[in-house]
């Protein structure tokens, strides 16, 4: 195939599955490439009639097949019954009469010269895991890095990623949470200064569409198709990745058919462990990079906390804990199970120090507030589970209000505790579970932390 094409169109579309009418190129350019066969078109949603006349739809972009997530209507565009997918609506509506385009021409050749500017050294556990991970990549089998919080998981990825980049491969690091991506981006930019890197998340200002190293929320992978030679899924057990089948499909679809998908997490689900053991390999790290044990949780009853907070009162034990943090000048996070309760608590807690803020997933300033906490401009944050993982703040102290709530499963509690004592100079700290009765998950988390600290031998 020696037909001419516009390299800019290839760079943009290669590996992507995109709405035909939403590209940065003119209609004429896209049409020309379709005519010459460089771009293939496909309907956005397929409709099939079942055996009994029932209609089943499938979204070609996000592979959603749940009939509840399709809406049919009389379309004025195609002048007939049409249906669209509500699962990936936020990325631009895909319906039966919308066309998706994929690149069908020669694929992009990526540069093979890349610098690795990270100058730290790996512990021997990290080094072993890093080598095992690369070995799995070469053998194209999935690999799980099961490493405790604060063991330096990101650094383990650097070597294998660098080797892949030098081989001209395209790589993706995906995570279910945008906070994790935001935390990773500067670290990876610093580690790979000469590599084209782009972070994709809802509302991101994307410039380098053709980047060889892509950081993306798992949602963004809906828009990729057979793009990557390897995908690393960070925090693979986090909501909503585990709950939404279409996100797992999206990761599979974004990888090239034979490409391996690796997982990195401190708290793998039983299902992930079982799946990986069947086909792939696991590296386990029980020690934090600084060698100190994980801080265990301390239980403290906070009877009827929701009633008291709803009345605008801070329960005494919680108040004392916060005052202590303020006196000692230690940054802190207080986790809540729901936004409404947290907002009520915020008003009361701000009486203690007006700089304290609350953040949740829909909060417009959440990025800035976390940044302010890191910079020491605010003494502490109230948060929902969005900050349970991926964030590192020196000498942070952590409390959970309502640790018995079902949203705090054992994995979430282990992750929350994992925020504490990550720095060599501050290897321990407060990890308090304020509760209104002890749940199985709390005990499970406490046992798990004990087990990890013992080196993973005891049950």
């Amino acid at each position: 195939m020696n037909k001419p094409f516009d390299p800019a169109v290839r760079d943009f579309l290669d590996g992507r599955i995109w709405l035909r009418q939403h590209t940065p190129f003119s209609v004429e350019i896209i049409n020309e490439h379709i005519e010459s066969g460089m771009i293939e078109t496909t309907p956005g949603v397929t409709m099939k009639k079942g055996l009994f006349g029932q209609i089943s739809c499938k979204c070609i972009r996000c592979e959603n097949e749940d009939p509840q997530l399709f809406t049919s209507f009389d379309c004025l565009q195609c002048e007939g019954p049409c249906a669209y997918c509500r699962n990936c609506l936020q990325m631009g509506r895909v319906s039966v009469c919308t066309e998706l385009i994929v690149w069908n021409g020669p694929r992009t050749l990526y540069p093979t010269e890349h610098a690795l500017a990270w100058e730290g050294t790996l512990t021997k556990h990290q080094k072993r895991a890093s080598e095992e991970l690369y070995e799995s990549t070469v053998r194209a089998r999935p690999h799980l890095i099961h490493a405790v919080c604060g063991s330096g998981k990101t650094e383990i990825l650097f070597e294998p990623i660098h080797k892949l980049l030098v081989a001209g491969k395209r790589i993706c690091i995906a995570a279910p949470r945008v906070d994790v991506i935001l935390e990773l981006e500067p670290r990876l930019r610093a580690a790979f200064p000469s590599t084209k890197l782009e972070a994709l998340y809802g509302g991101a200002d994307v410039k380098a569409f053709e980047a060889q190293l892509i950081l993306a929320t798992t949602h963004q992978l809906y828009r990729f198709c057979h793009a990557f030679d390897a995908i690393f899924v960070d925090e693979a057990d986090a909501f909503p990745y585990t709950a939404e089948k279409t996100l797992q499909h999206a990761v599979r679809k974004a990888a090239k058919p034979a490409a391996p998908i690796h997982f990195v997490t401190a708290t793998p689900s039983d299902k992930l462990l079982a799946d990986i053991k069947k086909k792939g390999a696991v590296s386990t790290i029980y020690r934090r990079y600084h060698g100190h044990p994980l801080p265990g949780p301390r239980y403290e009853p906070l009877w009827n906390y929701s009633k008291e907070l709803a009345k605008g009162k801070i329960p005494k034990a919680l108040e004392n804990w916060i005052i202590q943090r303020l006196d000692l000048n230690e940054p802190f996070l207080v986790f809540f199970h729901e936004i409404e309760l947290m907002m009520k608590a915020e008003q009361a807690i701000r009486q203690l120090d007006d700089r304290i803020r609350a953040v949740h997933s829909a909060h417009p300033d959440r990025k800035q507030h976390v940044q302010a906490l890191r910079a020491g401009k605010i003494p502490g944050l109230l948060t929902t589970t969005i900050l349970e993982r991926g964030i590192t703040i020196k000498n942070i102290q952590v409390a959970v209000v309502g640790a018995e709530q079902s949203i705090f499963d054992a994995g979430a509690l282990v992750q929350i505790g994992g925020r504490v004592g990550r720095n060599v100079n501050h290897p321990s700290g407060e990890f308090v579970l304020f509760h209104n009765g002890i749940s199985y998950a709390m005990d499970h988390a406490r046992r798990e932390i004990k087990r990890l600290n013992a080196g993973g031998d005891q049950p």
Binding site: C75, L76, C82, Q90, G92
Partner: protein
Amino acid sequence: MNPCLLCMKPISEVASWQSFFALEKKKTLCDDCSKRFVRADIKEEGDVLDAVHSLYEYDEAMRDWLHQYKFLQDVALAQVFSNELRRAFSSTDTIVPIPMHPERARSRTFAHVETLLDGAKRPYVQLLAKTNTSVMGEKSRHERLNMEQLFELIPGAVVQPITYRLVDDIYTTGTTLRQAATVLKQAGAARVEAVSLIRSIQK
């Protein structure tokens, strides 16, 4: 059980005899999302337009809803206010929706006001046609107030000396509704009232 149309979370419903016999309306939103929408019921009177009833004020919740419905083309969201809209009319009302230009309707794939009325199961008659493809949302207040004629009667439409009730999604300066009312009155309508889903008050 269908998930909430806005947050996609499952809707918790308490089983009752009403729900068992399907006497209760099926919920489209979860309690948290429906709490965000507060009825304002603003009623205003004027000359050309005899009365306007606006159901909600333009706030954050409404802005989000309107964005997802009109610009992300989420047709399903027409169901969110179907009960409220249904109750804003009586079965004897003659309802006239504000029309879209056919070209714009085709690019949006649906006519948003008519789809709202379909969702509310209120029949309507289309007497008006849009004369140009201009979009109100892109104009300044001054431009809007000095618009040329926006609507005309569709050929063959018969306007009777009765009360007509216009319907639009959002009422801001009132230019759209007043212009539509003028056309109807010049054609012989006795009285023109309007129902708008949202009232946007400019400060």
